[in-house]
Symmetry: C2
Subunit: 393 residues, 2 copies
């Protein structure tokens, strides 16, 4: 399977073969009565293997939040994946589908105390924290557990840099390790996140330099750390060049080893990079219009929007690619919007999308590489629209 | 019931008595195991009566999308309310709870063709449109129906002005009326939306002036319009002064009558203004932390966030008010964030919130006036967190 065909420049790749995969054929030959995410778990398995080939002995902890569809978890359990869970709900899901407690980390730095207790009694022994109060909760409800401290990353070359919501500044890192030890926990290492959709491995350099300095300082201060959690950031193809998964993962590991030496345990938490390219959304055009007699662009309204699966269009961060049966026609600039009676449900306006001039109400429209951060984001029923349907082929 | 106590300036009002209402007492005396919206339908009925007292013979079409909870719809059916539906799902809901088809308008300007056909066969005869293609869909699937044309509003003094997503520019208004007539539909009038959370009736003046000009032009061109849909924009109390509901509605109607004379049919579509103050969310503090040793503010993480009910915090648009058991303590600036492992799930950061210095993990926190645009926005299970629970007392 040649998902990422190297382009003329060799190192980078564009997933050209995705254009004619099983998912797209299935959508072309199926009638849907509501927006539907169609997933191919074979692609998930392939991506797992491709990433694993580059990551070497680092463990993949799939970020379940990216897509908790049952068949994806089952596929990854069968592949030997580990899991990064954000909540009790995700832990229960993974356990119910055969994951071992020892393969699940509770990676949310903001946990409900009762959920910590649940995880502890379920046999989970590895937790994230970035604050004193979180360590106190862990000491009380998951005594003697292993904990890694999440650090804030200052510099990011990601398409979607993270906010400061997660992690502590580096000036607090060592005191939190010490506090964890004082509380009877086992401080085992650090985690960080390089930023969502970091398209090339070389973009990790500055962040890894920063984290390595803290790692060195911690060892110098007497902490015997053995775990480095390099988080997510593994990219998916949304139209801009990305490095292929194996080369990308190997590139990151090379940078890691050069700075951290042989760390006994390395964790990586791909979500988007594992599942985004495994699914396409089958959607429909509801209306094409012009607002004014002298408008230069058209408005295209789809039956899926910001509140029914395409939440990652917020601030136009993730730019999805669209496929229609009219892609041979001339195109024009379109503002793209969702179906709800919500003025904020506009997908792309600052940077309009080129779509065929003949596009009209009732036309099928396919949205590529939507396997991550779509179905679970969709609302329970805003405006009376049902949540995004999911089909696995 | 004295929801809006006039303040010293007479005309404007602050809902002081909300502080000790039944919802707040219920939350204080109840233990919740997940974030829960608690609703009091008596307040919905009161607000309906208060708005109706100011609106006179204008019909209230409740914007169902604001909160489709069954008991709210039942309360409003009993009050004699009409309904503005955004989708087939909302139409089915209203019909199943006793609303008459003749009291339901299909107000979404972007409708699936099959949903138009469903509505037509269910007996609904009044539809919105803002584009040629939408009129063609109506002519085919709801022949001879009444249609009103939605206009874009240029100027808005709303707290949350709408985008250009809905409506056509005024230069297209008359041609759309004509096209509707040519297609065999009955063009009956115009609609507009002054902008969400328009806090004082005087703020409607410029918009009404604009719409009245189009109305006059249409009559001069021979269109016998008899329906004016003034849309929503009716405010709720989020901490900034608003005009009380009866005075507000009467103020708007006075401006309308001065510009449009005696229009046979006037529709108003309050959503937020009817139900927001009827509910509070019971939530919990999960973590209080500082990111760095020299941070001047704290981070407070709640068990509810942008993807589990508080979507209207996007761009910090709606600023909710928080109540804790420590409100007598000194306060400090806090950045407020939700529980999900999503970096974008930060509620208030640009303008931090003052919260008690003693606030800590496990503390109950109540969020005022959350009856609108919360529960139906919440995700099906992002990060494994269940959707916002709803209880009606």
């Amino acid at each position: 399977m040649n998902v990422h065909t190297p382009d003329a420049r060799g190192a980078f790749a564009v997933p050209t073969s995705m254009r004619y995969n099983a998912v797209e054929n299935y959508i072309r030959n199926t009638t849907f009565d509501r927006p539907t995410l169609v997933l191919d778990t074979d692609i998930v398995a392939q991506h797992y293997q491709q990433l694993k080939a580059g990551l070497g002995n680092a463990n993949i902890h799939y970020a379940v939040k990216a897509n908790p569809t049952r068949e994806i978890i089952e596929t990854l359990v069968a592949q030997g994946s580990h899991f990064d869970a954000a909540s009790r709900g995700e832990i229960e899901l993974c356990l119910s589908l055969g994951a071992q407690p020892s393969d699940i980390s509770f990676g949310n730095t903001v946990k409900r105390a009762s959920d910590i207790a649940f995880a502890y009694h379920a046999g989970i022994t590895l937790f994230a924290a970035d604050a004193e109060e979180e360590l106190e909760k862990l000491a009380e409800h998951a005594p003697k557990s292993e904990v890694y401290i999440r650090l804030i990353v200052d510099a990011s070359e990601a398409d979607w840099p993270l906010s400061r919501k997660f992690g502590c500044a580096r000036d607090k890192a060592l005191s939190l390790l010490g506090y964890a030890r004082d509380l009877g926990l086992k401080p085992v290492g650090f985690s960080f996140h390089v930023g969502s959709q970091t398209r090339r491995s070389a973009m990790w350099t500055v962040t890894l330099d920063q984290i390595a300095q803290v790692w060195t300082d911690a060892h110098a201060a007497g902490f015997e750390l053995d775990l480095l959690n390099i988080g997510g950031g593994f990219p998916a193809f949304y139209g801009e060049e990305i490095e292929g998964p194996t080369a990308y993962a190997a590139g990151v590991m090379k940078l890691v080893h050069a700075r951290f030496g042989n760390v006994p345990r390395i964790m990586a938490e791909p979500g988007r990079g594992l599942v985004a390219e495994a699914g396409m959304i089958a959607a429909e055009v509801l209306l094409v219009s012009k607002k004014s007699n002298n408008d230069t662009h058209r408005w295209v309204y789809l039956d899926i929007g910001k509140f029914s699966g395409l939440a990652e269009t917020m601030d136009e961060a993730i730019r999805y690619q669209f496929v229609t049966d009219r892609d041979h026609e001339d195109t024009g600039a379109c503002i793209l919007a969702g179906p709800s009676c919500d003025s904020a449900d506009v997908l792309y306006e600052l940077r309009p999308v080129q779509l065929p001039l003949g596009l009209k109400s009732g036309d099928k429209i396919m949205i590529r590489n939507c396997g991550a951060y779509t179905s679970s984001y969709s609302s329970v029923g805003f405006n009376g629209f049902p949540p995004l349907a999911v089909e696995v082929i």
